[in-house]
């Protein structure tokens, strides 16, 4: 501090503020350190620390009589997860649901975002953006609940289908996929919409001028340029679906997904080590996805 105050008027208080300011101004590393210290303490020490502790706990077991955690390193939890076919089925089912939700959302988001970005008038566009953002603020649980009401035996869907002699999917895997796709739709739509907004109209015109039909322009011009936005959106739809056990409980009937296994082992089973071992699956599935996504440069869009 003395270095920085040299040659300045020594008015207490004000001068000290100035001195600190000048000192920081000269020492870039100190400024950077001061800015990064708290966020990094929180995210690296507290958050990554907790994650690491949980990953270590996965190698522990619980005493089958007392239920207490035994701090003895073993691969038993993983052996059980890998060898018992029920867990393999659940893992594949979870990946399938997450992938299906992502594809459904992308397929709906593309035409809707295209209409919003390139066809709708400025006024309509503003209205639609507000219209898609508004339900985002409605509680996630409430929306899952709304689908429980819709899909119920006496619900709206069955009421609509009955005149055609049809019956809705009821509670189950299809209901879960529909509900999740509904829940995460805005997370896919918004990045795709933003990506299309950035896409200059002149590119579409140029493609049309060269004789490309709508579908060809979409496939050869729009889609490649939109790819990072789609990856950014899929990051949310995939991850959010993979970690969800609420919708499964609300509209899934007896269906089990990966997150249920983790949840049930903590709440009813009281087996934290086994839950932690089961959590390896979504973590590594997601990390793999993130790393691939980073290579496409899509993280800049998130």
């Amino acid at each position: 501090m003395t270095v920085a105050t040299a040659g300045r008027p020594r008015v207490p208080g004000f001068a000290r503020g100035r001195a600190v300011s000048a000192f920081l101004h000269r020492h870039v590393w100190l400024r950077l350190g001061a800015l990064l210290l708290l966020p990094m303490l929180w995210l690296v020490v507290a958050y990554l620390g907790s994650l690491a502790a949980m990953l270590i706990a996965a190698f522990w077991t619980t005493d089958s009589f007392t239920g207490a955690v035994v701090h003895h390193t073993t691969l038993d939890n993983f052996r059980q997860l890998v060898t018992q076919s029920v867990y393999r089925t659940i893992a594949i089912r979870s990946l399938g649901v997450a992938a299906a939700v992502t594809v459904v959302d992308a397929l709906i988001a593309l035409p809707v975002a295209f209409y919003m970005a390139k066809v709708a008038s400025a006024r309509t566009q503003r209205l639609l953006v507000v219209a898609i953002l508004t339900p985002l603020w409605a509680s996630y649980l409430v929306k899952a609940y709304a689908w429980r009401v819709m899909l119920g035996e006496d619900g709206l869907i069955n009421w609509l289908l009955r005149p055609f002699g049809l019956h809705g999917p009821g509670y189950g895997l299809v209901a879960v996929t529909m509900t999740l796709a509904y829940l995460w739709f805005p997370f896919m739509l918004l990045p795709v919409f933003a990506g299309l907004e950035r896409l200059p109209d002149s590119l579409l015109e140029a493609s049309a001028d060269q004789g490309a039909k709508a579908w060809r322009t979409f496939r050869s011009v729009v889609l490649p340029l939109l790819f990072p936005a789609l990856v950014a959106g899929s990051l949310f739809t995939f991850s959010l679906s993979l970690g969800d056990y609420i919708s499964v409980n609300v509209v899934g009937g007896t269906t089990q997904l990966a997150a249920n296994v983790i949840y049930d082992n903590i709440t009813t089973g009281g087996n934290l080590p086994f839950a932690a071992a089961a959590a390896f699956f979504p973590i590594f599935a997601m990390l793999a996805y993130l790393l691939v996504a980073r290579r496409t440069g899509a993280l800049e869009n998130v």
């Binding site: 400024r31 950077l32 800015l35 990064l36 708290l38 966020p39 990094m40 929180w42 995210l43 690296v44 507290a46 958050y47 620390g49 907790s50 994650l51 502790a53 035409p111 809707v112 209409y115 390139k118 066809v119 006024r123 219209a131 898609i132 953002l133 508004t134 339900p135 603020w137 409605a138 509680s139 996630y140 649980l141 409430v142 609940y145 009401v149 819709m150 006496d154 709206l156 739709f185 918004l190 933003a194 579409l204 709508a214 991850s239 970690g243 969800d244 056990y245 609300v250 997150a259 983790i262 949840y263 903590i266 932690a276 959590a279 979504p282 973590i283 993130l290 993280l299 869009n301 998130v302």
Partner: protein
Amino acid sequence: MSSRPGIISDRSRHTLAAVTGLAFAIVYVPLVVVVINSFNSSRTFGWPPRGFTTTWWSNAWHSSGARAALMTSVKAGLGATAIALLLGTMAAFAVSRYRFFGRNTVSLLVLLPIALPGIVTGIALNNAFRELGLPFGLLTIVIGHATFCIVLVYNNALARLRRLGGSFEEASMDLGAGIWQTFRLITFPLMRSALFAGALLAFALSFDEIIVTTFTASPGVQTLPLWIFANLFRPNQAPVVNVVAAALIVLSVIPVWLAQRVAGDSVTARR
């Protein structure tokens, strides 16, 4: 901007408009059904509604469990938002104004708590709190929520800082203002709307979150989503749960309105 003839044929135009209309209808129908059902005199909510009643609304208004849960949710949201504002802004400044080793990792690190499935963050924190002997309650809920809310403030602040560039700050410093003065008079006013948008998103996410909360709350301290989930499968409570759900749907208009008024495009630029 209004109409762009030429590029897109009329037929594609109409098809796209129809798909968009259908998609938006699907977005709103379930929400409208919940609101209508809150006045449905049938306890089982068969469709179409059998009659009109306001009994459920008055029952919900007097439900002490729902009120206590609402208060917890508001407190948790405010606490988490305050922490997220501080940490998110600091990290955004570091990343936008300095070049350093591991700069890209900061973005990934901030994103991680929301990119990893909520259940993973949930049990990791649950395990850590247990090992540290921290009693479960409002504090642990706030810590959990703040962790995944940082990214929302960070993204908004970072986008704004990148758009602003550093020239305003340089000009201020050249004119003799110190770091604090520059922040107070130049940087902060320019960032205010972005920070507000980030804070609004953070609060909304915290208010809505249930998965991480499940593992960081105690049985005595419930947030509103936890209360709804706990009462969802009790046939007795169904009408009250439905009213709370309807109320949340109607109330969700407020933050959108606020965001449009105060923050302009910052919120719509959310990704």
